[in-house]
Amino acid sequence: MGHTVLVCDDAIFMRTMIADILAAAGYEVIGEAETGAQAVQKYRELKPDLVTMDIVMPDMGGIDAVREICKDDPDAKVLMCSAMGQQALVVEAIQAGAKDFVVKPFQPSRVLEAVQRVLG
């Protein structure tokens, strides 16, 4: 508990929802990003324990962001947030270094399970 999280999604709704699920479970959301580029920059600034990453975002997509983040920190723990039907993209994200994924629509229990797996 007490792990820090950076939440990346272009939708405020999704960010809020994820942040609430995590906060209720005792995680500390220390930053939010709405583009891939912002995610990379904030990751460098905040060094969070975990990143939740939407796949499709403007400016720079989630997969490129994972790649950038993992280049900086091969141990970065990134959890992809995908939608149904994005299997190929998730496979690509895992190959880029993502550590796990959850599928929208989110069930809080599913999200927390994945977060726990990633944080080991």
């Binding site: 900086d72 091969p74 970065a76 299997q87 880029a96 270094g97 550590k99 796990d100």
Partner: protein, 630 residues
């Protein structure tokens, strides 16, 4: 799980890996384009990381992990290797080596390790930003998940192969991605091959959730199972030992590792058996019972066989020590601004492990000396008409029951004039002496406290430590020889017995005392009165086959009353290298195999003895040091 019992194995196996790392780094540095050394290094460091993590030595695992990151970055082409990377990796290997030793005593890494971790990270990061653009996005780019804790100690090629089948739950979402996640996690445990279906198939929405692969791993099947399940949404895992690997495994079992202390204990027991056998043989000889004689003979043969088997098991190729030197030489040459080519020969020659361990430090001393004091800086060499690159030869050869290890350089040679002047000033040689022979030179250099550093080179603040070398080798019952030519170079030869524990010896009597002389060094026995006496300088000498050999009357040397001083007496000619000496004694009592006992000479005891032993009749006796007598 009680990890303490794995500590010794951890240390020995880690050292093997680190030794390999040094060799690989050297090879790689010579040929930065080669890929084999990088792969080897990566594997060795990776294995070490896994072992350290398993043992709970987190800082050690952490450092290994950072080094592995850099190696992986180079291996996958993200980083192109630079000279400073070699330096960084050499230092990391040193730190890991040190850390392995410290970890088992409950200590963490030294403070330097932290800066090393930072430097390794920086090297990876710097390169990451300037990474090879064309490669970005390729599968090699993937950062491997690092779950070092799950890694078990494993020899790289002897790990068994497991055939694994996994099934992703049917109600799971994106089953292909889930299967890939499981695959990525399990890859941290070993080398994965034969993945079916191919990874590209996992992207298909109609993937049926079944994935099979083979993994070569040191991890237990239960561990593989647990790691796969940690990916989540896994319905089932089936693991079988790959069938075509079974025979290989059976063969791998034919060799086992034995703790050296076990062999030491066995050797000691064999030694005691020899003493008991000697006693038995003596009793049998005195008895009239023929059966006792037969049994005695049979036991005698069996004990001999046991002894040679144990000795055989302890023999270790000198390569184990020689292999350190490429690295030592490289570092020293660099630090001292020399160019040195190291030539190694005779690495296959075998020695008792215990002897080899004792020889290692003296050799390091001599190699340091050769580079520090012997081999000149490149400019000086060129001026003297030599190649800029100095030559250092390290060789081993077998001589009867001993092994000669030679350290020879082609440097400037020892400055005899300066040593002579200093020795005269210290009153070590006659003020009228005009030159120093090699053996005199050695004797002066090996006097402890003889300040050679200033005289020999003026470069190093340290003494050359020849006295340390001399003491260690003599304690082994060995001998040191020196040959030095001005401008041509210096060679030290260390002669050591094949084994420490059991030595065939000649028992001699002087007055009421008995002494032991190792047979290694006895070249012949003759009779005193029958041999013409002459003089060699101011010493009495015997003429043996027209060669004068200086005599040593043991009763005088050892100050023993009641010795025979007239008439025919036996003489032992002892030879160490080229030097000989004729020891005059009262009687030869025959040969005996003796077990050398550790020996701390009491203060003030003259240095004529190299050890002590218990004779067949249970009485103690001192072992004469042949090297001190010639």
């Amino acid at each position: 799980m009680d990890l303490a019992k794995y500590a010794a194995l951890f240390v020995s196996e880690s050292r093997e890996h680190l030794q390999a790392c040094n060799q690989l780094l050297l090879a790689w540095e010579r040929d930065p384009e080669a890929t084999a050394p990088v792969d080897g290094l990566f594997r060795a460091v990776h294995s070490l990381k896994g072992m350290a993590a398993t043992m709970g030595f987190a800082p050690l695992a952490e450092l290994a992990h950072r080094a592995e990151n850099l190696l992986d970055a180079v291996r996958s082409g993200r980083v192109s290797v630079k000279p400073e990377h070699f330096e960084l990796l050499f230092r990391s290997v040193d730190e890991l080596e040190d850390g392995v030793a410290r970890a088992t005593t409950g200590k963490g890494l030294r403070a330097e390790a932290a800066s090393l971790v930072k430097a390794l990270d920086a090297a990876v990061k710097k390169a990451g930003k300037a990474g090879v653009a064309g490669k970005a996005g390729g599968p090699d780019e993937t950062a491997k998940p690092v779950t070092a804790k799950a890694e078990k100690p494993a020899a790289k090629d002897e790990r068994p192969s497991l055939d694994v089948k996994i099934t992703v739950r049917t109600d799971a979402l994106l089953r292909g991605a889930r299967a890939l996640l499981a695959l990525r996690k399990v890859e941290a445990l070993g080398a994965v091959s034969r993945v079916t279906p191919q990874v590209s198939e996992l992207e298909r929405e109609d993937f049926d959730g079944k994935l099979a692969f083979r993994i070569r791993t040191g991890a237990a099947p239960s561990e593989v199972d647990a790691v796969i399940r940690s990916a989540g949404d896994i319905a089932g895992v089936a693991i079988d030992l790959a069938s075509d690997e079974a025979t290989v495994d059976a063969n791998a079992m034919r060799q086992i590792r034995i703790d050296l202390s076990r062999l030491d204990a066995l050797m000691k027991l064999a030694g005691e058996l020899v003493v008991a056998r000697n006693r038995l043989v003596e009793l049998a000889r005195a008895s009239t019972d023929p059966e006792l004689g037969q049994v005695g003979e049979r036991i005698s043969r069996l004990v001999g066989a046991v002894q040679s088997e144990v000795l055989e098991a302890r023999l270790t190729p000198v390569r184990e020590v020689f292999d350190r030197f490429p690295r030592v030489v490289r570092d020293l040459a660099r630090d001292l601004g020399r160019q040195v080519r190291l030539e190694v020969e005779g690495g296959d020659i075998e020695l008792d492990r215990a002897v080899l361990d004792e020889v290692a430090d003296p050799l390091v001393h001599l190699v340091r000396n050769a580079i520090d004091h012997g081999i000149e800086p490149p400019r000086e060499r060129v001026k003297a008409g030599k190649t800029a690159e100095g030559r250092l030869r390290l060789s081993a050869s077998r001589e009867r029951n001993s092994v000669a290890i030679r350290v020879a350089d082609d440097g400037r040679g020892i400055d005899r004039a300066k040593i002579l002047a200093k020795a005269k000033a210290d009153g070590l040689v006659d003020a009228t002496a005009e030159s120093l022979a090699d053996d005199q030179l050695l004797r002066i250099l090996s006097r402890s406290g003889f300040s050679t550093a200033a005289v020999v080179s003026g470069v190093s603040g340290r003494g050359v430590g020849v006295d340390v070398v001399m003491t260690r080798i003599r304690q082994l019952g060995g001998a040191v020889e020196l040959v030095s030519e001005p401008g041509q170079g210096t060679a030290f030869v260390l002669r050591v017995p094949l084994t420490l524990a059991i030595v065939r010896s000649l028992l001699v009597q002087v007055g009421a005392e008995r002494y032991v002389v190792p047979l290694n060094y006895v070249s012949e026995t003759i009779e005193f009165s029958a041999t013409p006496i002459t003089a060699l300088g101011d010493r009495e000498a015997l003429v043996i086959r027209e060669q004068p050999v200086p005599t040593v009357h043991l009763h005088r040397l050892l100050n023993i009353a009641g010795a025979t001083t007239t008439g025919r007496r036996p003489v032992l000619v002892v030879q160490v290298g080229e030097r000989r000496s004729a020891l005059v004694v009262d009687a030869l009592l025959g040969q005996q195999e003796i077990v050398v006992e550790p020996f701390d000479a009491p203060r003030g005891m003259p240095g004529w003895f190299s050890g002590a032993t218990i004779l067949a009749d249970g009485a103690p006796a001192l072992i004469l040091d042949a090297a001190a007598l010639v």
